[in-house]
Amino acid sequence: MPIFDEELKKLKETILKMGALVESAIRDSIRSLVDRENELAKALIERDHQINAFDVEIDEECIRLIALRQPMAGDLRFITTAMKITTDLERMGDLAVNIAERAIELNEEPILKPYIDIPKMSQIAQGMTRDSLDAFVRRDKKLAMDVIMRDDEVDDLKLEVLRELLFFMVQDPTTTSRAMKISFVAQYLERIADHATNIAEMVIYLVEGKIIRHMALPEK
């Protein structure tokens, strides 16, 4: 295999490693909330620096490849896409940390209500994250479109959660502090799904050379 292909393969693997870390951070953040496990939350907050280190490493590698290999066409799109994807992944890691922080705070108070929609949101967001990266490494446009479509489900669930929490707060103002924190968690998950959507949109660019951000999607 030519050196450059070797390097691109390695870059791909590094992104997948970073993606795996982010995915587990999201999973653990929600588990720490639902199972009220502070240790899990603390551990993932500790681990966030690994995700940040990957972000820097991947950016540096992409810059090196642009300077030394002068990539064109598909290679150029791959490398620029990689640079943008790591930014999204890094933010997703930060949001998982935010969820863990809210979880630690919430775990100190009695449970407001059993978590139902939040784990559901988390499931979808994790699936979107995994699939957007799969679509990236396989250059799979169909899977990327599928991820983009799933974003609406997360948005709908978030509205559902917020409506429900508002009801609690109106009924009993002493729940406000907890309800606010849970609503933050719902917002964070929704943003994680947005970042996965960004990655999927970049995959479309990677495959087709067409930037579809800020465009209306075809009707479902």
Binding site: P2, F4, D5, Q70, P71, M72, A73, G74, D75, L76, R77, E208, G209, K210
Partner: protein, 259 residues
């Protein structure tokens, strides 16, 4: 491929076939050449890009058994460059070529530039002086040679000689300038000067360049054609060719994954 209203055609290659005796070197080529733009032709060795370039000023006429079919229209008068009734000398007045290796004549710097005009019977000193100065300025060489115009052109460096050849080509006010790998024998600084020069002269005329250096095509051209085995595989805006080419063959070639 979308074209703006401001992009006028200077020339059009239509269903062009070219034969070196029995060898079918160009196969049904169609390319638009836009006015006051730089068109780059890229492709592996033997793909026909230089053969195509040489059709534009009838260089192939120098050898017997070479045969053109089809048309290269030259606008605005719409003549067919490769038509049998067209005088190649007339064409070469309007379409000049700069070669890979600088090829100054064994004459003074001044006479090199004045040559094309003298051939046309222009000998008035004042007119020649003005034209030589303007052409050397146009080729960004004037300041380096203005005090040694009557020295031999061979005293110049390689990069200066190449700019002298460009000045010589500019002196006859051509409509199209053809470049056949004009910088492959030059260092990066001379290369940058020639490229800058191309960018400035394209305000007055149309340029077609054959280059093996893909970064060069990417840096200076507005349109790029990719050729292989005598065929045009893809023609599009340079930015499109180098970021998202349509054809897999183009992609493989420009990303260095050929064959």
């Amino acid at each position: 491929m979308s074209v703006n209203n401001s992009e006028n055609l200077k020339s059009e290659v239509k269903a062009l076939n070219f034969y070196y005796g029995d060898v079918h070197a160009l196969k049904g080529i169609n390319i638009p050449v836009f006015d006051k733009k730089i068109t780059a032709l890229i492709g592996p060795s033997g793909c026909g890009k230089t053969t195509l370039l040489r059709c534009f000023n009838r260089m192939h006429d120098l050898y017997p058994n070479n045969r053109y079919e089809g048309e290269i229209l030259l606008h605005p008068d719409n003549i067919n460059i490769v038509g049998k009734s067209i005088d190649p000398i007339e064409i070469r007045m309007r379409i000049s070529m700069v070669f890979q290796k600088p090829n100054p004549f064994p004459k003074s710097i001044y006479e090199n530039v004045a040559y094309g005009l003298r051939v046309r019977g222009i000998n008035k000193k004042r007119f020649l002086d003005e034209k030589v100065e303007a052409s050397l300025k146009g080729a960004a060489l004037w300041h380096e040679v203005k005090d040694r115009l009557y020295e031999s052109a061979f005293n110049l460096s390689g990069g200066q000689q190449q700019r002298l050849c460009i000045a010589r080509a500019l002196a006859t006010d051509p409509e199209i300038l053809l470049f056949d790998e004009p910088t492959s024998a030059l260092d990066p600084i001379s290369t940058a000067k020639i490229e800058e020069l191309m960018m400035s002269v394209k305000e007055q005329l149309t340029i077609i360049i054959v280059t093996h250096n893909m970064q060069q095509a990417a840096r200076i051209s507005d349109w790029t054609g990719f050729m292989m085995l005598g065929e045009l595989i893809e023609f599009d805006r340079t930015s499109k060719i180098f970021t998202a080419p349509h054809e897999k063959l183009t992609e493989d070639y420009i990303t260095g994954r050929f064959g």
